[in-house]
Amino acid sequence: MNSTRKLWCAVILLAGFHALILFAGFFAPYAPAAQDRDLPFAPPTSIHFRDAQGRFHFRPFVYGLKDDPANPGGYEADPDKMYALSSFVRGAPYKVAGLVGSHLHLFGVAADGRVFLMGTDGYGRDQFSRFLYGGQISLLAGLLAAALSVSLGVLVGALAGFYGGWIDDLLMRGSEIFLALPWLYLLFAVRAALPLHVAEWQVFLLLIAVIGMIGWARPARLIRGVVLSAKERKFVVAARGFGASDAHLLFTHVLPQTYGVVLTQLALLIPQYVLAEVTLSFLGLGVGEPMASWGTLLAALQQYYVLASYWWMFLPALLLIPLFLGYYATADALQERLKAVPL
């Protein structure tokens, strides 16, 4: 498969995933904080087309849950209670991107029924809904932090590469220090220096700032390399020849050469940073309850009995794989294209 097609496949996969997360309110049947204390650790709900009597229904349905006498704490399906699965139902209110309000959900069941696509956690909260909403936090953190890192990298790399001399020396020495520090440890250490209990959105922003400000060194070096070779190109010299200012040279001729590297770095950093946020939250150092990020969803797995008995709690981690795949495939395809085009 040639690199363009690979690129499109990866991008479409990513776009789909991100759309799911962006419109979490629409795709999720329940609000993320909605608890169902009667149904802690319920397994994923099976969707049926054929009922216990063997009759086929066009509209899929789910069974109600009742306690399983043979398995304390477990559940079994109640064949007497059948709830049809409808699409475009009216449910709990939500806001898309915090702006547009709506009540519309893609699917749902009647009020007494429950459809837990990924089961529930200890508080009876729907994991599927929490996964989608949690993605908003983790993914947004990764995207913003990567944007921050790469922007800093472009700034530093362009200045260092274009002007050279002492600016270059100073900036590159600075980047060496950042590269010399073990990334994860540094992240944790800076997190430690910050107050442990602050308002949630502040934690979120701080997290982004910290993750983003640690990772600029490598992009900066790569961009510096591109700028160094770009500024020697004859068309840049020619532009100097009609009196172009440094700013004009940078923006019109030099920086456009860096687009490829910038995009590739973004594609590589975003999954890393998402994982950083997930790790921090997993360890209780990131966003805290009840704000659900993927990390907090996975944190329950640190308890032995959860790990041993409730396999569906793993699903959020498994669903990270296609996300990473999409980004890495994008980065690969971009790198192939970069090598092929001798700009």
Binding site: P182, Y185, F188, A192, A193, Q302
Partner: protein, 321 residues
Amino acid sequence: MTRYISRRLVHAILLLLAVSFFSFGLLQLAPGDFFDAMRLNPEISQRTVANIRSEYGLDGPLPIRYERWLSSMLKGDFGFSLASNGPVAPLLCVRVRNTLLLSGTATVLAWLLALPIGVWSAAKRGTWGDRISRVATSTILTIPDLLLFLGLLLLAVRTGWFPTGGMVSPGADDLDAWGRAKDVAVHLALPALGLAVVMLPVLVRHVRSAMMDVLESPFVRAGRGHGIPRGRLLFRYALPAASNPLISLLGFSIATMLSTSMLAEVVLSWPGLGPLLVESILSRDVYVVVAIVMLSSVFLVFGNLLADLLLFASDPRIRAE
């Protein structure tokens, strides 16, 4: 030659100084005086607190405080841990040993696997075997480390083949030395395996690409023309020629030995630096946090220095200046 070494050494020391500034800065950032909490502890008298404060130079101006902190670090005194009510240094010693045991084993394992796989993959480029190994390494790269370790934990829990955490079983003190060693080894198996798998893809990729470059070169082709058997050609002739980037990589492996195992330790409950770091952050035990960061940075910087020196010693082209 000594000029090269001394230049790199000076460079490393300057780098570490910069790191120490940074760590010290972190220390200052932590809100509240560390000893506020200590003062609240009824077991410690006010006098002791005051003494320790002046000993750490906390009552002086900034440069003095930095100098005293730095000099005490250099002497091996890493501060005081509130959480465990004792000096930090001995606390770290044990943990460092455990971490190195884990990451050392994993690194050796990873390299032992990566070399043959990478070499073979490069030699059989384009064949099914090569493609499989490339898909496998890409797959492992795509799986987040966290997931991998959780998965291994699940495996341990479900199958009971491995212990699910810790370094020793309860009651291990009663065993003899050999029994204790076996006990540790059994506990070591899962985390080391997991960590090795995580390290593997990058190593294999580098070995493969380094080997591919060498296999294209004239002297290898000449060797083939002379009829040197394939295995010997690969390992006795080609691999040494590919060693430059690999030695750097080895240096990098060594340099990161204190930091790579962090997540594995936390998830699989291996008592190394990782869990200590997390606990210290949660309990606001600042000196421990700073000490860990400094220590792992020192390791990193000196590991890289070692890599440069190894490269210098092994490659006659660099030496001939």
